[in-house]
Symmetry: D2
Subunit: 444 residues, 4 copies
């Protein structure tokens, strides 16, 4: 039986919605899970999830210039499976107190990696039994699982894209096992993040051979999934660089190019992390928006980065303009299907108190809840939308506009039309007005 | 008849190959056009081209903070068609003296834009007659033509992606005309650069509708080309931003994603400019390399940028490591088919003397010529190549490697193999050694 | 007499404070000029100013890839002095309708540059007579004047830092004249922005000689000012690059280093522009904050940039977190002394309607007004401040802390203390909590 | 006695200068230590040093996404002082075989940190005895020592700039001890690198108080140094960010501003690392150049970064243009006084073989040796120099130029001169020519 009788955050009760409370860091000001917004409870629009790694494993606050800092008394002297179970107990108490209904993990976040594949698999079996028990007890479910193909030194030159067949096969063993345990736990998505799938130097790299290898692995996984009757949605998570100089899944559209090139486009969607998007040189919501437009937004790893820093900081998302933009996209696509809003965030290295974990998540949940409220109001009132519709109106009202969009016009017809109409009117883009109106919704 | 009897650079003779001369800026130290390298004359490997705009039109050295600076006496008080012809005379003298056999232009670089489409078309007819005459006289040919859909205020909100059907059709008129005149002049490529095809703000933009529009224009152009029996290769030139905040053709792979998405992949190749590649966050040769690997490297707009500056500087390429890397890729793919190495470079705003135009091009041509010599030596001796082959050897020698690459293996087989083999060997990536060997080739 | 009888924005009345109005772009929601906040009227805290160049001269929306776009019927066919006066009339109507009480200019924004220095000076005399008249009529005053040492081709290689003595002297003539007319108009500050004072390439540059030249110019200006009894505060405006690759006044602290190095520190303060600050790799408010801390914040060129773009976009500041942070710093230093909040902003190239000029400024003024309200509330309630005070408390309460701060402690004493006290406590930095509290102030 | 009888790289002999050898990674092609160049042996111009941390301690190849990878059999099961001594033995063998005569360390690179200050100091005493012995045996000397105030969790909120007095004092204890041991070992410099001296968030930071604290520490150190009669030159090493979001010693000039502000300018010089310089947005050699011009270039931490990556990669410097530029600056200032060229470089995480340590250093040494040869040739022939002199000639030949430089001219005099002379000549900056000539020196 689980140790769930033991309480690890005894001073913290379930976080409640208290819109009027002030100066109380341990309540929600905006997030009211069951309140219905545009026909759905907030919690369904938001589908918050917590990642296991940053919050319960991670490097303990280590960075390239410093040792671990976090103080986690609950770990005591535990090791191996016992430590893994302890972390799970803590995590489920944490999820429950926050009112979070989903979580995510890498294989060796939740279970210790063994000396051999068999030992690792055995550890995963033991731990997933335990997780299944916790899931049933709490009704907290698995949003997605993924394999860690980047931390172990064996993957230093790549997992699926390694120059050595043997490493590739080792990766296959992890992927297969994650598919199996994900199915066992009812995970609705399976994520692939290629942190070492890329190059450090073009001098020693066969770019295309490596991409061919990666495609072959995906094809085998698709085939295995079909044979097993598994249903979790495959998701690729783009990132342009870090740890590798250049990662093949650079951003959303680069990943779509790959999926098209290798005829895998029907089998994958994307898991987008805004902090990765900004590292690729795009606005934070760009990839979420593009993925959504092309029917490929599977899930979101929600966080924020510091655009002035050249690495992934995985900060808690605290910017209202950004959370509102994300929620507007989600409202437009009718919400998530298989995915959710996973907080792939970590408390700062200096935020060493366990309560900081709560504060970070509460702040971010409230920021997204307020973003949902703002986005819903914008959508209901439709002011910005109607400005945009007006802007593109000729494509609806002009018969040639419709004909072009339907693929029924010829170049000659367009040219004749241009000659007949003469110089077009210069129409203001009115960016300042859009920003003013947006600000009125955001800030009152 | 052309004014080609008049000489505009009377103090400058044909630039000769003088490998031993020192302190003479007006000769080539490395470029010997007819010297055969790996079975082809240097000039065929390199296929140098000069762009008409930076060197004979441009903004005269204007930048966002300053007025034109260049001193071009040859323009005198000429205007309109007369000025256009004068520039062409100067250009062909310049090409001839440099020994450059190709050139490129935007429609309204070579001919003045008229008040109406008809007037513009008429100007283009007059000027292309003149160009055809010059081409025959000099045996200098058109590498590519393109339409300028970004300078005129009518395109401020986009050309193909404009919210107004009428502007779209105006763009169609330019595209059609460029197809016609390019065919007339025997241009082997037709370039599309979408400087205003993108967004300044997501607030006022329908991203997907705009991309749909762009795809429709391309489909009509493909159809028109087929009907007319034209043969110029269509090329898209990616750029991530500038002038627009985000351009839809962000980089090579984003453009490929678009072409796949809209089923246009068979009709287009890419024209890659390294300065655009670095603006997108990639190494200078990344997009050239990726395009080549996937059979999509049509042509190169050769120049260099300053990675510390966030805008396109179009400097002359003066870095040997980079020119060698580009030439290695070209050697690997057997050279250009329809495209060439177009110098999309401009002299610095402060380089106001006409002779600076020669110096910039000579420096860059010599840099590429030396890059070709270095790349050829590397290829002949094969040291780096054999190191790479060795690195990936298991994919050739291990039967499972071959099976995976042929798409005949299953996930289970790979897993079995991994279990049987146990922990893989950690093999050094040897980046420092690759760099040392590369440096020995580059610097002796 | 001035033409001020003519109205150029007949459809726009004076912009009023209407906090409850909705969907009315031409009113203030937050800016109520005479409302007293923390003991001063809003307009005194904010001291809004409009720059003459972006709004009444500028490049008309031209960018490096496109021609002017703006439609300014008021310019008609006017030229020279007549055009200059017309723009002034328009500007003062604009300032008046916005309720803006300060403006700024470069010498050749307001008056046409002549063929000779004498002619230029004469034009400036005529125009400043006219400006003086307008100032008296409207009670709108000059915040600062500056000389344009970057647009004219003569300055392509630098103004004060030019390799040619003659150009340096030409710059001196402009500086002297601006000192004279600024004094005549009662301008309270004189700004120096060194857009061409830097290098494009280290290869052709004597860095230190150029900085020596710049220092000599400043010393002569300080001396001239003293001799003339002028009182305008000298301000240097840092910018890291653009148009030049590297500008000597890179950022606030680099400029302070220069002022110290050349013993000019007592004669200058800084004019900080956040868009320049982000181009230098710092947070938007970093340089404002640093300048304020060291008593050097003279004035602010308020705008915002797009951190993903590598050039100065001079957007209107629309982000509440940023305006609140700026106003918090100003509250802390007790407001401006000689300077103000100058909108160095331009409407987007696509925002071609004259009304867009109003919308941009109103949106930005409201954003700053709301920022002031938020900052004042934060300051009054003191929650964040008290958290910070608590954090540094040991420096007040521990006797050794005070001793160290007073410069009375020795290294040995500190070491003894460290040994005696043993391992320090690890205290959480609580960044997430600070962000949560800040967000509660910003967004409710 | 030392264990130096044991050999750790038995397969590697002393690296020899073999300019003609090809395909031999374990020899120098360009570095010939005793060869005299411009009056000094190469080894004196270059003063190569190896840093202890990256090569003998470091994180073993760990990065934020991966575990250690390096295979260092020599560490066996050793721990504590024994491990420390073993690493020293290996290091001195390594230095000797490379012919490197200087090394550098952080306190807890060479000795294990103890549980208490006293224990740490004791460890340092034991180890420095051992180091002294090795130094005498090998005639390899200490270039500089520094204290690590960034790795231990106690410093997570800063060392000298910590909000807690107690942590500040702990830092003092480390600084004092490093001063003592550095003196004992004859180290000629003492470096301060403020990796945690900065801010993660302005919200919780008192910027000026923290800088005041830092200045106080430096003053106490200066005072202690004087009292003890120590002579090592104090050096500050700027870095803009990483690990901290913003570090107070952002770049060379920011650091100089600080030193001026707190009247410490006479007591410090700078230790410049080009990889930090590029992170601050400058060209790789910018800070070296600026520091040298203002008499503040104490030492160089030589390495290179990838400008496209936003973090410090500490790659071996392999670019000839850069090494030549650095050596040109050093030739100009007559070489190092107290400092040297320390390789603050690490082999890539994937370069796991011990021999890769040799290859990286040999490649970099050869690159610098060739850079020295090129720079010396440039200096001897003086072509570039004479072009620059010509460019600034009017400042020497025009009497007013000299008068201005001597501080004897007035603004009025300059204005009169400008009026008398009229419009200046526009002189080409000739950047392309400078680049061409530079390339002829670099590449032949």
């Amino acid at each position: 039986m689980s140790e769930s009788s033991k309480e690890f955050f005894p001073d913290i009760s379930k976080i409640e919605y208290k819109p009027e409370s002030k100066g109380d860091a341990l309540s929600f000001k905006h997030y009211n899970p069951d309140e219905v917004i545009l026909g759905k409870p907030m919690k369904e629009w938001l589908k918050f999830s917590v990642c296991f790694w940053h919050t319960f494993v991670g490097g303990g606050g280590a960075d390239p210039f410093g040792s671990p800092t976090y103080i986690r008394d609950w770990e005591g002297d535990l090791e191996g499976i016992e430590l893994a179970k302890r972390r799970i107990d803590v995590a489920f108490e944490f999820f429950t107190k926050l009112g979070i209904e989903y979580y995510c993990f890498h294989d060796f976040d939740v279970a210790p990696e063994g000396e051999t594949i068999e030992e690792s698999h055995n550890n995963l079996d033991v731990i997933t039994d335990y997780l299944l028990e916790k899931q049933k007890e709490t009704n907290i479910n698995l949003l997605w699982a993924t394999q860690n193909l980047f931390s172990n030194p064996r993957y230093m030159n790549g997992g699926m894209t390694n120059p050595d067949v043997q490493v590739f096969c080792y990766a296959a063993a992890q992927i297969q096992k994650v598919m199996d345990i994900n199915h066992k736990l009812g995970g609705t998505n399976h994520v692939f993040w290629g942190g070492r799938e890329g190059y450090q130097s073009l001098l020693n790299t066969e770019f295309k051979s490596e991409c061919d290898q990666m495609a072959m692995m995906y094809k085998m996984a698709v085939d295995y999934k079909k044979r097993k009757g598994y249903t979790a949605q495959f998701l690729i998570e783009p990132k342009p660089r870090e740890p590798t100089k250049h990662q093949y899944d650079y951003d959303a559209q680069t990943t779509l190019a790959f999926l098209h090139e290798y005829d895998l486009i029907d089998h994958f969607q994307l898991n987008i992390e805004p902090n990765h998007t900004t590292l690729a040189g795009h606005e934070a919501v760009h990839d979420i928006y593009v993925a959504s437009l092309y029917g490929k937004l599977g899930s979101i790893d929600s966080n924020t980065g510091d655009i002035l820093l050249g690495w992934d900081t995985d900060n808690f998302p605290m910017d209202l303009a950004q959370s509102t933009a994300v929620m507007s996209i989600l409202l437009e696509q009718g919400g998530f299907v298989t995915g959710g809003l996973n907080f792939d965030c970590k408390v700062r290295r200096e935020s060493v108190d366990p309560v900081d974990l709560f504060i970070g998540h509460i702040g971010a949940m409230d920021n997204y809840a307020l973003g949902l409220r703002k986005a819903a109001k914008m959508k209901e009132e439709g002011v910005l939308k109607s400005m945009v519709v007006e802007r593109y109106l000729s494509w609806e009202t002009d018969p040639l506009g419709t004909k072009i969009k339907n693929g029924e016009a010829s170049l000659e017809e367009c040219v004749e039309y241009a000659k007949a109409k003469g110089e077009p009117k210069k129409t203001s883009g009115k960016q300042e007005l859009y920003e003013m109106v947006r600000n009125q919704y955001l800030y009152g």
